[in-house]
Subunit: 211 residues, 2 copies
DNA sequence: TAGATTGTTAATCGATTAACAATC
DNA sequence: TAGATTGTTAATCGATTAACAATC
């Protein structure tokens, strides 16, 4: 057990969750930290340390029950306790996220989408209504979203996030190529900086790196 | 100067690059590690350590020339030396990536897109031709891509990456919700696990976390 | 019971921060 | 020159790994 769980540990939890799902699907009922570590490319020690931040889920001499461990990690992550989200910006990225990601499985429900283009305002995407961004305040009043999904152009990101924060949003999934954390210290930003990711990949192909 | 630069440092480089671009755009010609650290929410020490992995780009008593530092980091990342990429899978995600990301600015050029759906095969997306996946080998022969962009469903990811590796691909930008690193040890995978990212965000909204 | 494997403490490793002499 | 700020070494902090007693 551990009071303040580090970000490094938290970021590994969804990965454990995926592997446990996979194991369950292939009919494996029990697994040891050693066997799981071999599959995942970690040390058995690290897995045991990580899990013991949240409690003792295993049994000496036996290992871990896959189904039980999966459900415990799901509970820790909040997969079954849905939080409301709204998305702002229904461009390519917004559209792709909303149709591609299994929000339900991950404890998040998108309640509304906002955009400024008349072609999309009033339509439905994946069963979710698209409103004009002018209606943001009115709809937030009703929905009380805790999560904002920022799929707007960089130029709009700061303005939009400020409006959302004023309306009670506490955490952002930020796809805009911009850091907002410094501007809004009390709020959590989970950044998906695809440009940064691509540049990191590009770096690995440098010759210097191989030498 | 440093022989083996750690991943932690490399992942900060694109972020420095973004901030330097921003500074340059707003007409700032010179910056000290202290001033930059305040903007970025890092320590000045860390910035100096990071940069000195690659060389001494500053000047005592002055700081760093923004334009020079930006171009040096660009060079380190390989932004000006284009590497060939191909994309496999033109679903929502593929489409969004290809139209949204500034590959050119980041040292990567997409040379071809592959999909299996007749509706899209033969079309052009952002000036890039879409081929049937059956033609993968033939086109790879011609293009010799170093980077593979995996925007296929999870079920196809392993099969596709194996084919690409056989055809010379050395690094993947992987959007499939699956880890392939263990299966292909010599190859680099830059994973964009959006599901994991969303779950990490969801975790932060748990009450326990706030207490 | 004996073997296996956990939970947990201690040791190690690596990354971040602090300090300061060098120097522009 | 004096003040500012780097590059770099040393100190600290945190995360990972190793070890092992507890125990199923």
């Amino acid at each position: 057990m551990n009071e303040n769980v580090s970000m490094a540990v938290v970021r590994r939890l969804p990965r454990y969750y995926r592997y446990l799902e996979e194991l369950l699907r292939s009919g494996v009922n029990r697994i040891s930290s050693g066997a799981l570590s071999a599959r995942m490319g970690l040390t058995a020690s690290q897995i045991r340390q990580d899990l013991n931040c949240f409690g003792g889920f295993g049994q000496q001499g036996y290992g871990y029950n896959v189904e039980h461990l999966k459900s415990e990690i799901g509970r820790i992550l909040g997969a079954d306790d849905k939080k409301s989200a709204i998305m702002v910006g229904l461009g390519y990225m917004g559209h792709s996220i909303v149709s591609h990601i299994k929000f339900d499985k991950r404890g998040v429900t998108i309640k509304a989408i906002f955009d400024i283009r008349d072609e999309v305002v009033g339509s439905m995407v994946n069963g979710i209504r698209v409103y004009h961004t002018d209606e943001l305040e009115r709809i937030c009043e009703e929905i009380k979203p805790e999560i904002g999904i920022l799929t707007v152009p960089k130029t709009e990101a700061e303005k939009v996030s400020e409006r959302l924060i004023r309306n009670g949003v506490k955490a952002f999934w930020n796809f805009a190529n911009m850091d907002l954390q410094m501007k809004f210290p009390g709020v959590y930003f989970e950044n998906v900086h695809l440009g940064d990711s691509l540049m990191t990949l590009r770096y690995r192909l440098n010759d210097r790196d191989k030498a």
